[in-house]
Subunit: 232 residues, 2 copies
Amino acid sequence: MPSAEAPRSPKGAGDIAAAPGGYRKGEEARARILEAAMRSFGASGFKAATTRQIAEDANVNLPALKYYFGSKEGLYLACAREIVGRYETRMLALVTDAGAALHADISPTDARARLKAVIGTLAELLVSSTEADIWTSFVLREMADQGPAFAILYEQLWAPGVALTANLISRAMGERAASPAARIHALLLISSLTAFSTARPVALKYLGWPDASDTRFASVRRVIDEQIDRIG
Amino acid sequence: MPSAEAPRSPKGAGDIAAAPGGYRKGEEARARILEAAMRSFGASGFKAATTRQIAEDANVNLPALKYYFGSKEGLYLACAREIVGRYETRMLALVTDAGAALHADISPTDARARLKAVIGTLAELLVSSTEADIWTSFVLREMADQGPAFAILYEQLWAPGVALTANLISRAMGERAASPAARIHALLLISSLTAFSTARPVALKYLGWPDASDTRFASVRRVIDEQIDRIG
DNA sequence: CTGAATATATATCAAATGATATCTTTTGAT
DNA sequence: ATCAAAAGATATCATTTGATATATATTCAG
């Protein structure tokens, strides 16, 4: 009976943290693989991305992916967790503040200002960053496909983000709790940002912009801010 | 020298219309393949969709795809053309009217009403229809990936649609020609609809809706209409 | 009814791809 | 310096997949 031997050290698939030891060089290789995988998965999706391409981009050989992440799906899940972590790094302070403020029963005007800050930061992340749009592609694709990483991304990113947005919109409209209209509004507002993340090349082409310079980004943000000003 | 023989009849790849004759039953098979292909490509994308799955869904054998469309890419392009045609069928009258009205220098109020009609119809198409969201997935994916069908879809669907929306917004704001702000606004408005097309299952899940009933759709449309009312 | 045009079916091919068995090299604590 | 753990490299499998050569069946105009 050829029963499966336990892998020699790093990961089996449902890993959470490195178990025993681990050399520095190994951790670097692991990081390179994760980076390359986020790019490939983000650009092409789970099925269309190939492990060979990821291995090549990461400068490792093919079995290294299995060694560090167990399987293609294990690697995909690890990417999802990494993306959640990176969004949190960039948004957590702002989001925590806004959440606390909501709890403290802020004024509609204050809510509007915080909504601008949150959406503005998110917009900047999506529009300007050359790496965040890869995360966004990853997340949006998973929201549409509902693949292996759906639960992680929905529960830890999408739902909390939309809920916060809905609560801020609700407060800005003078409501006490988020109405269906406020929640619909939140979905529409966040989804509208895809125009400049997933579909950024097309948007730039349509606008005749060679790239997303600071000045140009400012004009996008101005339009979004105006929309927020008109809420309520 | 095994030079490529011309296919026995239907398509070589860059087909436009059936050349000579063609039996009725053949045309039915062709239609089934196209239908199945739009579903597969829309749901999975070019690379991830498999010709075998498409053939099975269409109740034909594998070589039939080559026989009718030349290759996987030929089939993909045929889907793009078909989707352009179907959108036109459902939107053309409205779009033509709005275009003519713009040319006739309508009032901001009229422009706003027409904008509501166009976006409302589009929203209804995306939200309610179980087939139009497949076309939308197809189109949006191509806008992001810029694959073989990009030129067709951009030039014949996306750009004209966004341009019309931008012009109506511009007119509603009292402008004489579409400003950058109006065009950005148009991009955001159209992109926001993805919340209820590509990402519809997630939106329903978040809202706690088991499905998109007429009543529920009406509340989505109301929020969108309010946003249009606040333009300018 | 007949036959050329049209359409369908069978059987493979070659390349791409995820996975993995096996061997060698490197690392770093002792 | 030694050695077990960790990491990397090579070679190869089994599937999947797009493509197609070839044979058979069907359609419908005359």
